[in-house]
């Protein structure tokens, strides 16, 4: 049974209900509205991003509901991304953050996890300058500010 999703720029996407319901937000909306053909508006998500999100949900449509892995370690791991997901996340960094925002808004936790892990993996092992390059960020610190920040947080380097 298909549902229609409308993006920010008014493009319509027809997807199976099962696929759309990977998004808890959409799932709840459908439950609230009941049986209806009315399209579901998603004013916070552009067509380009929604295309990607739907692609993810289609691929993972049969995944079991995620159970919290019972580990005591609050520090989460980022080295266990599935191969398909890794390829899926090979997008420019702007799109990467857009996907994360969309996954947050639409409440698709597995996609949010994959997005965050991907960002964490990009950051891993890079110096601040390399991180700036990877994410197109301008360094807006003065040299004095940089020195102070380094000093203030020095204690953390000793682990």
């Amino acid at each position: 049974m298909p549902v229609t999703l409308t993006s920010l720029d008014n493009q319509e996407f027809k997807v199976d209900k099962e696929v759309a319901e990977r998004s808890i937000l959409i799932k709840n909306m459908i439950e609230d509205v009941g049986e209806s053909d009315a399209p579901i508006p998603l004013p916070n998500v552009s067509a380009a991003v929604l295309t990607k999100v739907i692609e993810y949900c289609e691929h993972h449509r049969n995944d079991p509901v995620q159970v919290q892995d019972e580990t005591d370690d609050p520090r989460k791991r980022s080295n266990d991304i599935e191969e398909w997901d890794m390829k899926f996340m090979q997008v420019d960094q702007e799109m990467l953050f857009e996907i994360i925002l969309a996954a947050n808004y639409l409440d698709i936790k597995p996609l949010l996890d994959v997005g965050c892990k991907t960002v964490a993996n990009i950051i891993k092992g890079k110096t601040p300058e390399e991180i700036r390059k990877a994410f197109n960020i301008v360094n807006d610190f003065t040299p004095e500010e940089e020195a102070q920040i380094k000093k203030e947080n020095e204690w953390a380097e000793d682990r």
């Binding site: 953050f97 925002l101 610190f141 000793d158 682990r159």
Partner: protein
Amino acid sequence: MHALDLPELVAYLAPYLSQKSLINCIRVSQQWHDAFVPHLWSTFRVTVPSTRSLFTLSSLDTHAPCVRDICFKDLSVASDSTFFNLSFPYLQTLSLSFAAYRTDRALRAAAFEFLQRHQGQLRALSLLKPLGPMSEVTGPQTRSRHDLMTQEALYIAKSWELLHGCHGLRSLKVESSPFWFDLVDQQVLKIVSELETLSLGNVGREKIQLTEGEQDDSSTPSSSQGPRWTLCSTDPCIRQRAVRIRQLSLEYCNSLSEEYHLIKECHAELRSLKWLSTIHANVIPPMAKHLEEGMWPFLDSLELRIPGLQDKDLAAVLRAIGPLRKLNLSGTEFGPLSTTGLLETENLGQDGKVQKKHAARLEKLLLGGCNNLTGAMVQRFLCELPHLKEIHAKVLTDRDLENDTRPWVCQDLRVFHVGIALAVRNIEEDQSEISKDDSKIPHPRISPFMERLSALTRLESFHITSTRSGQDKTEGEFYLSSSEEQAQRFELQKLHSAGGLEQLKTLRHLVQVRMEYTGQKMTMSEAKWMVENWPRLESVVVRQLMTMGTSDHDVVRVFFGQHQIHYGSS
């Protein structure tokens, strides 16, 4: 709108970043700084005294609202008492340990006052290394031991009062205290009954006469009383509050009977029990009997090591206990009876059908250092425990694979720490096999291992060691002589010939590899092979007693370093 503008998204991302990554993120730009600084300061961990100079009290004060978790080790009188003047409005987790014999009264008083100020907030507290007068710097030895102990007792009593005020405390860890948690004491019981996690390490069993001349019969050493295993159910103090502890850890405390008493108090909600002791159990705690009576209905994670517990005692526990998720019996007498208890005990599954009780749930099985464990048993585990994710065991030989050719059902295995060995055949056979060594294909006796390992595509960590006694003791074979051992080493070295590792290229999730056979050298071509085929690799450890060709070793280390892979020798 950028993802980093949303604090809740930054909060979601931050746990995936290592401490190092967080530090680098903070230096990227003002926006990144403001987004990530609260997460860096969320955990304030200071250990080595030299680190003390790396933060200022004023910067700590500025960031105090971000701090959720403080861990301050090796506190000593030197300069640390000023730290305790600060306040952390959102502090939830506190871990303090004092450097032995370098504290003084002022530091202790400051620490106490700090704890008192944060009483209402704390959810988790760890007090490691003695905090009492016994750890004080003493001048000339004017105080008698009795005097010190009395002081210590009063001090502990005051600590209990303090803990009383920690209404939200859910997790408590105490190490190295001479005094036991006497549950008859109302104060103690009130605190303990609110806890979800309790961990006691090296906590003693001493009672001190606080008043001169008082005849307190509990001051006699517990060994002369004999074990008191039965719960005194008529005692009103104990019955009043149900203890809700879910995770209990007792490590090397000094009185088995008192410890068991505490374990029984946790009869309702206990999910995880760790009980390690060096005291020999002259009388076995009736754990199996109490389990059969329905005590600890939710217990599914057990770690036990009490000298004196035999294979049959462990087997009885395994038969009586509910379906286990995690079992750690390292260093115990785990043997054939326990294997049967673990693998063959049956119960009714959720669908009403009879099933193997533990096979239905067991995910982690740790049996390192169990001298009665044979390869045949290990092979059974791999063939009969479908949900196994982690296994630690001493030995598995090719003969075990020949004797039991069933496939390994544990397709979800992540951690494989098992000593692999070649069973001793007769010497002539081995020698002739050694002589035809130039083939590039893996040795036929190694291949069955590699084939089975290669099917475990979710494997993340494997240790392969060569063991001295790779044979079934019951067959009465001898331990390896030095020439046999050398033959075995030589065979395992073939893993490193060009074809040796090839079968393992399916293990694309491999993160950690440890290969320990003496004399084996890692070459550049192997290193390159690993980097190419194991993309998530982070650590490679090899055992190298021979350091010939050291330059090769360094070249490999540099190469791995470039790929952020730790390379070391054990």
